[in-house]
Symmetry: C2
Subunit: 107 residues, 2 copies
DNA sequence: CCAATGTATGTCAAATATGGCATAGAAAGG
DNA sequence: CCTTTCTATGCCATATTTGACATACATTGG
């Protein structure tokens, strides 16, 4: 992906949806970021509702606490891939994932 | 992800859903693979309906024909991430992605 | 049959993502 | 306050993913 680096830069330091205006993100980039944030939020929610700490989740999925934190933060250094795998490891299924993706990130 | 290598191995040479029985895939792995295949199918479908060749899509998204072929094949060497980005680049939005993920891979 | 055009498969250097670690910050309980 | 427990952030060596290329296969039209 040619635009990866640029996106990384642009994504630094925005945090909550509705960014569009600030930095010049294409619609496509906005969709991607929102999608990632939605999944990140679902992961955090699911973990909490299962009563796990980030460290416990890290052990379950074979990762580290720091990476779990980054997943939940929607950090640009984590791939949507990883978040999805984490969700599935916590018992989510495709429908859950699909529902989250379809929704607004804040929702 | 600790299990990445194993999954890669197991995923070699299955191609169409319903694998479950053959190799010992966990539910979680099955979900992931089906999810990827669903997106791969959507990408191929979308490209065709737009009348593009793989080479054209490759140019649009800044990749190569071979990788687009692999994306559409759901090749284990491509990440769900990349397929999603490609879809968005072809004008799909979160809803489209969500719909595909929610559905059966064959559907 | 022979191009031409499109798609599939294998390989590899370079780019990116990952786990792990150290450490800082936050929140809760005593 | 002070611990303890949990979460956030920065960093790095390693592992995986990526684009590119070469080349094989498939399909179509002449």
């Amino acid at each position: 992906m040619k635009s990866t680096k640029r996106k990384r830069l642009e994504a630094e330091g925005w945090k909550v949806g509705s960014a569009q205006d600030f930095l010049s993100l294409t619609d496509e980039e906005v969709e991607y970021i929102e999608l990632q944030l939605s999944l990140a939020a679902l992961l955090a929610k699911r973990r909490k509702s299962l009563g796990y700490t980030q460290t416990e989740v890290a052990n379950i999925i074979g990762s580290s606490q720091s990476r779990v934190a980054k997943m939940e933060a929607g950090d640009p250094s984590v791939s949507v891939d990883l978040i999805i795998r984490a969700l599935l490891a916590l018992g989510a299924n495709r429908k859950h994932v699909a529902r989250a993706i379809g929704a607004s990130p804040s929702a």
